[in-house]
Structures are given as C-alpha cells and as structure tokens.
Amino acid sequence: MATKAGDLGGLLARARSGDEAGFLELWRALQPRLLRYLHVLGCDDPDDVAGETWLQVVRDLHRFAGDDEDFRRWLFTVARHRAIDAARARVRRRVSPMADRLDGLADEQLVEDEVLDGMSVKTAVAMLAGLSQDQAEAVALRVIAGLDTPAVASILGKSPGAVRVALHRGLRALAADPRVQALAADHGSGLPGQAPGLLAPWGGGLSEH
C-alpha cells in the first residue's frame, strides 16, 4: 500500500514521539526508495548503507524539525553521505569490484526476460544506474525520492538549472533505450492515465492542475 505525502507527515510526527508503529510505517514507506536510490549510486551493500542511514536518522530524529519533504531531503542526504563513506572505505580496503561486475554481467542475461515481464523494479533501477552519474542521481532523487528540483540541486551541490538539464537528458536517454520502448509495447498504449498507480509515488494518483 502506498503512503500518501500527507500520511508521511503524520507518520513522521508519530515516529518523533516514539511511536514504534508510526516509525515502522515510515520505514516501510521510505526504505524501498532508499534501497533503490543506493542501488543507483552503485553501493556494494545497499542494505548495509541503508541501515547506517536509518541508524543516524533514528539517533537524531528528536532533533529534526521540518515537514515530510524536509525529512525526505534529510534522509536521502544522509544516505548519500553514508554511500560516499562506504565507497571510500572500499577504496581503503583495496577491494576490487571486479567480482561484482562479473555478477552484473551474468545478471544481464535476465534483463530481456525481466523487461518483457514488465514488472521488475530491479531492472528499472539497473537501467537508471546505467545513465551518467549526474543524470542518474538527478532522476533518482527526483523520481525515487520524490524531491523537488531545488532540493535535488541542494543535495547535489548544483544549480537548479543544471539539475533540470541533467534530468531532461537522463529522461530522454532512458526513453531512447530499446528496453524502455519494449516496455511501451508490453504496456499497450502505455499511457500513464491507464496505470495511475504507476506514476504516483505516494499514492496520489493523477490530479488535474
């Protein structure tokens, strides 16, 4: 069940007051997005980094002041920093990522099936991770984390205009990918209006502007 943005604020307030059920709902709503974002960043162990992220968030939750958007911005900022720490630690340990890369190559044999199935989150994340660094992060923070452009720009240390450019180019690159076009074929006309849940990260569905 998707969590609406308004609900997220309520869950955040409950979590801040020490309500375990509220925290758990908050975690369930955000953990999947956190893991996908960390996958896009290329983390060796996204679960571990996500755990570190939540540890810090839980520890400092009583000091947090802000709404649900601020919280998401904080959460993903912490996640990005922890991912950078993990990458630095990996370099210090002289760990070669070659084995992981070979595993990735093996997995790519499954991509066609997964895309044709039209339901693999893992495949979608892998495709996003295949973009350039700037584009992948901009799209990930915008779509997966649901942050607005200024927030993304703040996290990435770029101007909002630069983020928009990266976002635009990233989306165009994804749209040109043959696997995405195969998705369109699999979804028939594939118009978002036919699958409102797909484009509503917080369950908001489609709305008239």
Binding site: E20, G42, E69, R72, P192
Partner: protein, 414 residues
C-alpha cells in the same frame, strides 16, 4: 492532466534546457513516452517483499535509540550525516569523492581495480582532519562493545534455554528469564498432569497417533535398577530434523557410562514445541544391549525441540525438528488477460505470509505477498504474458514451521 509527484511542481520549467520543454518536465516526457512512464512508475512502485526484509532490525534499532520524553536540544538543523568527514571537505571534494561509486569507467578509477597507490584517499582528496579518528574510533569501540555484550547475552540465553549452565547460574537465569521459558536448574520429571501421549501435544489440535516404537508413560519408569558405572552420558540423534507436517521423526538414544553402553535403562523423550515454555513427555523407551533405543515422535505439526532424559538425571542436548507444511499452487482461472493463482496450505496458520514468485531466466523473482485467510488460502492475480510463464508460491517460515515451496503452475499465454 499531469502526474502528481510529490514536489512535482512547475519549477521544472526548463528555462535553461536546450530545446526547452513546455510545462511540467517529468509529466510531459512521461506522457509522451509510454515506455518511460512505465519505467518511472516501476522506480516509484510499492515495495517488493525483499525490500522490507530488514523490518525487525529497523524496529530494534528504533527501540534502542528512541528517547521519548527527552527534550529536544536547540532547534538546530538535523545532522546531515557528515559525521565521517567535514562539510567543507564534502562540498569541496564532492565530485572526487563520488567517483568510487561505480559510475565512472574503470580506466578513470585505477584505485578500484587494485592499481598501485589506490589504498589511500583518492588523489585530490584531502586527508582526514585530525579530529576524525578519535571520534570514529570511539564509535567503533562502542559498537564493538555493544556487539560483544549482545553476543555474550545471546550465548547466555542459549545456554540457559538448553540448561547447559551450572546450577547456580541456571537458577539465576530461571529467575531472570523464567517467564520466557528458561527452565530452572533442576529438571523436573514430567508429572502425570503434564505428560501426554506421544504426538498428542502438537499444535493445531491434530489427532493423536500413537508412536509405534515408544511406550508413553505418565510416570517414566525408574532406572534405579540399572547401575551406572561412573559418569553416564546420554546422546540423541535425530533421523531427519526436517519433516513434512503431520509426519513423524525418529530419535536414537545412546546411553553410555564408563563401561560402555548401558542396557535396560529407561530413557524419556521430552519435547518443547514452539511457543511453549515447558518440556513435555513425548515417549519412553528402554535401551537395548548396546545402550541404544529408538523413539518416534509422530504427527508433528509445529517446530519443536527434543531432548532425552535418562537415569540419574542424565540429559542429552536438545535437537530441533523443523516442520514443513505443504503448500500448493493452482491456476484458479484465466481469461486470456489475467490469471488467478490460488495458494493453499492446510497445515499452516491463517495469517501466515505467502509470496508469489515468477521464474525469470534461471531465477525465481518475488512478485506479490499475501496472507493466508481463514481457510488457509490466498489468491494472487497475474497478467497473462505473450508467452507462457511459470509461477510458484513460497510459504514464509515462522517460529512454528519452516519455509515451504509449492509446485510450479504455468499461466498460459494471452
């Protein structure tokens, strides 16, 4: 109509986007590119079961760290996670620091491929400020101390549960953890009131099936007539340890003393089912010429620990028997566009979780999760694909039973 992303505002007006796009960037591109819309939808889709596996750990972490009632310090900005390095360092070296995150091609990351000189911080990166190490070290020491404490506590608890502690410690553990099923230092013989026929105390009220090779007795026969030479040892061996629910498992007892196998001694099979706090009598047998005896526990429908009690208070270590409730999957209807898959597990419990998986290449991928209803069934709906697809259902393990995998069902092509 445009998509309602959180923070999906008109701030995406592409003022400086080459070729400028009118209006809402995400919504417009997604609308004009159907495949992209679907892809973005997947990225923001609901959680898959494997993404929520750390739930218990997260809750434990929250419990350990939450401090309700603690007044918040000054309304300062929350820590943005830069505890491991200076903010300045992060800002100045952001691009460099981010390189190891596998975005750059290998040739730009010699350090990642084990080239010389890659062990330290990346070239251009600043060395760690002086204040970093003590803080990190303190954190590591703290974590290590916590881990050691936890490990010791866990080891103590396990030893207490298995009655492997010396009597005084066992008694102390009984006082502290008795409510959770830790036995006292003495091992009470099963009383007439608590004893039962073998297989009769299983979960789910299954009917009693007498064990063929054991004789249940409310009052285990005394072994006083069998003299033991020196310290005796009683060992237990389980034949399977993992059985289909409703089946039986056999245990072999070996009673030995200084002179070898002890014949003619009575040994009792004790059972503690998942969720129970006391050991119950599950059967008795008399050792044969070589000091061995076979005992069978039948009609097992829930995970249980078993141990043996022999003469003069000899006890074996406990062994675990995992029970696997059968789960079946069947195609419950297909109209060309969708197919229904019914999961059924009569010996599981309502509320148990079942996960629908699809075979993709050589791997099973989890798709949907559901709970068994009152009839121990769950329904899944799947879309028919251009070609035939293979599905199966996995019953998630609980304290009462192990993981169980169903037969595969084929959903015909549309």
């Amino acid at each position: 109509v445009s998509t309602d992303f959180p923070g999906h505002r008109r701030d995406d007006l592409p003022g400086d986007v080459p070729g400028g796009l009118p209006g809402d960037l995400l919504g417009d591109i997604a609308s004009s590119e159907p495949g992209l819309g679907a892809l973005l939808g997947m990225l923001a889709a609901d959680a898959t079961p494997d993404e929520l596996t750390g739930e218990n750990a997260a809750l434990a972490m929250f419990r350990a760290n939450s401090q309700p009632g603690v007044p918040a310090p000054s309304p300062a900005e929350p820590d943005f996670g830069v505890g491991e390095f200076d903010t300045d360092e992060f800002d100045a070296g952001r691009a460099r620091a981010f390189q190891p995150l596998a975005f750059g091609p290998p040739e730009t990351e010699p350090g990642l491929l084990g080239a010389p000189g890659a062990s330290g911080p990346r070239a251009g990166g600043r060395s760690a400020p002086g204040g970093r190490h003590p803080r990190r070290q303190a954190r590591r020491v703290g974590l290590m101390a916590a881990a050691v404490t936890l490990a010791a506590a866990a080891g103590f608890a396990v030893a207490a549960y298995t009655e492997a502690l010396p009597a005084p410690l066992q008694q102390a553990a009984f006082h502290a953890l008795g409510f959770a099923g830790v036995p006292a230092s003495h091992h009470p013989a099963p009383s007439a009131a608590s004893s039962r026929a073998p297989g009769n105390a299983r979960g789910h009220g299954s009917p009693h099936k007498p064990a063929p090779s054991t004789s249940a007795s409310p009052q285990p026969s005394s072994s006083g007539t069998v003299p033991l030479a020196g310290q005796a040892s009683l060992s237990i061996t389980v034949t399977s340890g993992r059985i289909v629910a409703g089946r039986s498992d056999t245990f072999t007892a070996q009673l030995s003393d200084k002179s070898g196998g002890v014949a003619g001694a009575s040994v009792s099979l004790l059972e503690r089912e998942a969720g129970q706090t006391a050991w119950q009598l599950a059967g008795t047998a008399t050792t044969g010429g070589n000091g061995t005896a076979a005992l069978t526990a039948s009609d097992l429908t829930a995970n249980a620990a078993f141990r043996l009690k022999g003469p003069e208070g000899t006890l074996s270590r406990p062994v675990l028997v995992i029970v696997i409730p059968p789960v079946s999957a069947s195609l419950s209807g297909s109209n060309g566009k969708t197919g229904g898959i019914t999961a059924s597990s009569p010996l599981a419990a309502p509320g148990n979780i079942v996960v629908l998986q699809i075979l993709s290449g050589r791997h099973w991928m989890s798709l949907q999760m559901a709970r068994l209803n009152g009839a121990n069934q769950a329904q899944f709906m799947v879309r028919s694909r251009p070609r035939q697809r293979r599905y199966r259902v996995v019953l998630a393990p609980t304290a009462s039973h192990g993981l169980s995998v169903s037969n595969a069902v084929m959903v015909p092509p549309r």
